[in-house]
Assembly symmetry: D2
Homo-oligomer: 338 residues x 4
């Protein structure tokens, strides 16, 4: 490639910074030309620190830049759809963080805009690119464990987000389980048919007062027959807990967490080992870089992105159905929210 | 103790033999005076082989023997209640295999008979006495993991039973999950309120034709707030799979399977270890001995048995509710089957 | 078998009791007719407790009993040879605890006596019958790891024996490493050629004052080319540590310890698991039963015993060479002590 | 820091490239101004590919560049000393790959040159910066396992180097064990007193013909009393094997390998997991970056480098003593080679 691919990043919060660093450190064929953020000072500070030349006043300026080939949408969830659509309309390829939006209609609008403009769209479900989950996928796909029958996903955070975030995030199913919904689709290779949720507020009453739950057992039936259970908690005392077990006609595969070291030490009082890597930045850093590599590769080679707009849409429906299941205390078909 | 405790065993099939050997090898204070079985030849052969002096023609003769202090009911499930009630009425202490019976009424009748007669009654939920499950119980009870929030039980058999057995056993929830229902009650220390089952026939169509399922994900809400998921399969290609994970406000505890050895070997083609101990006789042999010890101890010391008639009753209700959930595709309250 | 095999046990200390229980619980074809011990009260108490009918005043009376087919020599080490020789001369099969004796000449005399009398002789190297070590042996013998190149044996006790015992036991190489010497021979399937020991007194100065070491790294070259390292400590703070790693041309196999349960628990302060089974009685109980079964089987079937007199002799030579290596600070050839 | 630190790299082989990438990706405060290599084409290609502006014709030109603050010596071992001394004399800080040289005198000359010039010198013992080894060091240093008594280091390569390399590398003790010698010093925090090696040629006869061994068990006594055993093999069929166990008065700590994923899969034929990360580039990539960070940090902050010239010297002495032990079949004191 003679010319570098040029990207602009909208949003210089935590995840925007992660993508900046992945590109700078591992994607020499990409240039980050410009950033912007509704907190302009923060954008300016980050640009100065990381050597990005241009800071635009708003996302509209950024997508108006004719040199920019692709836009990374890393702003707050409520602005994703608007920016992604505008970027697509301006002919930019779009990488959009998850969830695309809390409404099915808006996500569909993003997909439609990208299709109409003929630009690539990738959704930020980074866990698909993690070494552990990839290995599970490989062992399912190559037939090692036979037809998938039971899928168990454990996904627990080390501590709940601020209550203010809970109030606007769309709740646990939209801001946390969304990743697990995607993982369930990814690993089963199928679409959900029905969902049932047993949930409660066990971690912090303030979460319940904000109208959300913090602990959930989620059963999903997939069209190919597989049954999946996801267990979520907003607070695991021992840290970030991200595991999967896939059970099939010919066997099972389990993945555990990643740890700071493999050390096991034994004393008079017991046998000890390390707690898991603390949170998603520590645990999934490599997967963020890998998803960006594959996004860039899709743009350069003209192939499909590995996580499509449709992949961004389906988990939203699962989130809506999960909420309905909690509200009505019964299994809910996906068709009820479509 | 000057005088030995004298027991009679009704049923000399697999489990009757297990109890015989536990007593002979590890309970010198107990004498097995007599056995019987509807297959009398089998009873005679076993008695000869194991040095038991008397073989009665039927259970009625056995419970009429005034020297017998306690009766172990190890016959087929459909005869448990009749024999247990008769034994209690004759003033014998009763150890009854699980499930006591498939009907709530009959189990209640057994409990009532034992209460009226003032005899001890213990139900054969041996897994409570297993080293791994006991450790989980200990760590829950001593507060190490805090208030229990999520309980996950994996229980998979190496291969399905004969179809003829499936037809009369009461189905997967009565003959297999019954142990997991008991374990869930044991570990939560609470009673179930509601159950939801996502199940299917994935292992063998003949099981479906017999009106049963062979794969199930079972969600149970307990009165103390804990949520439990049990996953069952009639056939795990790699063998008997018996694990628990208990997650609470302060941490979690996990137990894995037991293995023939701790060996791990590594070659050019990969890293290998042993499959789990094959089936329940290999896996739970020590727990069978321990439950018998504690039964005998309760008789000798006059204390309560560790697994009561009520403990035998509740899993039956859970089994009935589970069936109803499958049939009606909805969560079922325990009160609906009481 | 119509007639039971009849045995007498000389020595009713810890190991004599272990063998009594193995036979009573698992070898119905064997009758323990008589016991004796230099502490006669102890022998009488044990006989009463375990239902053994006869207590002889000394080992000579016991071996004079014409009904006794085999004698288990479980007395203190300094009496092994005398009793074993007398028993063999009386035509009794002999099971002798390890070490047979601290002198090569006496062990050879025991072997000669058994050969002359045409009786079976088995030495009590029970670890060969342990599930973990057996698996290592199997994977070496079936070629899984290829030709053995490096063998690493870890053998550490939870705490040192009383100083009085250290003074008479022959020292660490004779009372503790003796098992590891046997294991090295068993696993390599070869004889030692040269030994080098780096040792020190690190655990308790009193052990040094008694003329012994308590910590040792022992290198052994075997005739088939394999190199072996044994590391010993009289005191592992976390308990009994018994592991092996065998490395060969095609791979390796490692075994770890056995544990009271498979539980792993995680809290805010870390991840925990159980310490190993405390000491040899907990860890090796099954292997004691297995060695006794195979001894009895050899007697009944007329086959060779699985641990011969020669197997009892070689570790003694290794122990003597190890002592010499410590004293002289150099590698010592086995031929120097033969 | 206003001005960037400027470095030049001598040698653009494998390790030179690793350091280039570490600096480019993770050390924005450092500029790589120039490279050189005796294979100039290779240096030019790498410079073009990685955006390095200058390629000098030889190391003398490079160290003559007044803008260069520090030189990374990544050339072949036989040239390390000459280049490092020249760089020091030119007032450049020096990072020198291991082994510095195969002769004690030359290493001492490098140390003297750096001292005289007042420049920093760091030796490339990267494993000290690895997450696993660091954790062992931490648990030793903070007293968790008490005074160190036994240290066991396993270090096995996936396959032997080319015979041509073996002939010039100084042999296994200089090119492979050198890392383990450093690790033993690092973890014990002490200096070696005596070494004994049991070694042989088991992997490839050609290695023996080249005058080297390929399998070794190395015992080292340290001045603080700790005893260490290193086991080396040029060929582990299952891949790169890098483990440590440290045993002390209060406990032990063990580290295992790193793996591509945490997946464990179970089928009818067994239980499987991944082989270790293939070789040192995969296994130690993070540690190479970390050592470079700490080198740069020492230059910027004016503090001591974490791995000094003396740390480069001592393993050479151990290597020489190891060779002598093999040749003479006896323990060799370090003082014999000083």
């Amino acid at each position: 490639m003679d010319k570098k691919l040029t990207v602009g990043i909208v949003g210089t919060g935590r995840i925007g910074k992660v993508h900046t660093m992945s590109i700078m450190n591992q994607l020499p064929q990409v240039e980050i030309k410009a950033v912007t953020d509704i907190f302009l000072d923060q954008a300016r500070e980050w640009a100065a620190q990381s050597g990005i030349k241009t800071v635009y006043n708003d996302y509209k300026e950024l997508i108006a830049d004719p040199e920019i080939d692709a836009v990374l949408v890393c702003s707050s969830t409520d602005t994703h759809a608007e920016i992604a659509i505008a970027a697509a309309n301006a002919g930019k390829h779009v990488f959009c963080e998850k969830p695309v939006d809390l409404s099915v209609e808006k996500v569909e609008a993003v997909i439609a805009a990208a299709e109409k403009a003929g630009v690539k769209l990738q959704i930020g479900f980074n866990r698909r690119f993690d070494h552990n989950f990839r290995k599970v996928k490989e062992l399912i796909d190559n037939g090692t464990i036979g037809d998938l029958q039971i899928l168990k996903i454990t996904s627990r955070d080390p501590s709940p987000p601020p209550i203010e975030y809970v109030k606007v995030s769309g709740g646990i199913f939209m801001d946390m389980t969304i990743h697990d919904f995607d993982m369930a689709r990814f690993l089963t290779g199928s679409e959900a048919e029905e969902i049932y949720v047993a949930a409660a507020c066990m971690v912090d009453p303030a979460i319940g007062e904000a109208g959300d739950v913090d602990t959930a057992l989620i059963t999903i039936r997939f069209k190919n027959g597989a049954i999946c259970v996801i267990d979520n908690s907003r607070k695991a005392a021992y840290g970030y807990d991200q595991r999967v077990e896939a059970f099939g006609a010919k066997g099972k595969v389990e993945i555990t967490n990643d740890y700071p070291s493999t050390a096991v030490w034994s004393t008079e009082t017991g046998v000890y080992s390390e707690k898991p890597l603390y949170f998603f930045l520590e645990r999934y850093m490599d997967s963020f870089a890998e998803e960006m590599k594959q996004f860039v590769n899709a743009l350069i080679s003209g192939t499909d992105t590995p996580v499509t707009g449709f992949d961004g849409l389906q988990p939203i429906k699962l989130g809506l159905a999960a909420r309905k299941s909690v509200a009505e205390g019964r299994p809910v078909k996906l068709s009820e929210v479509e």
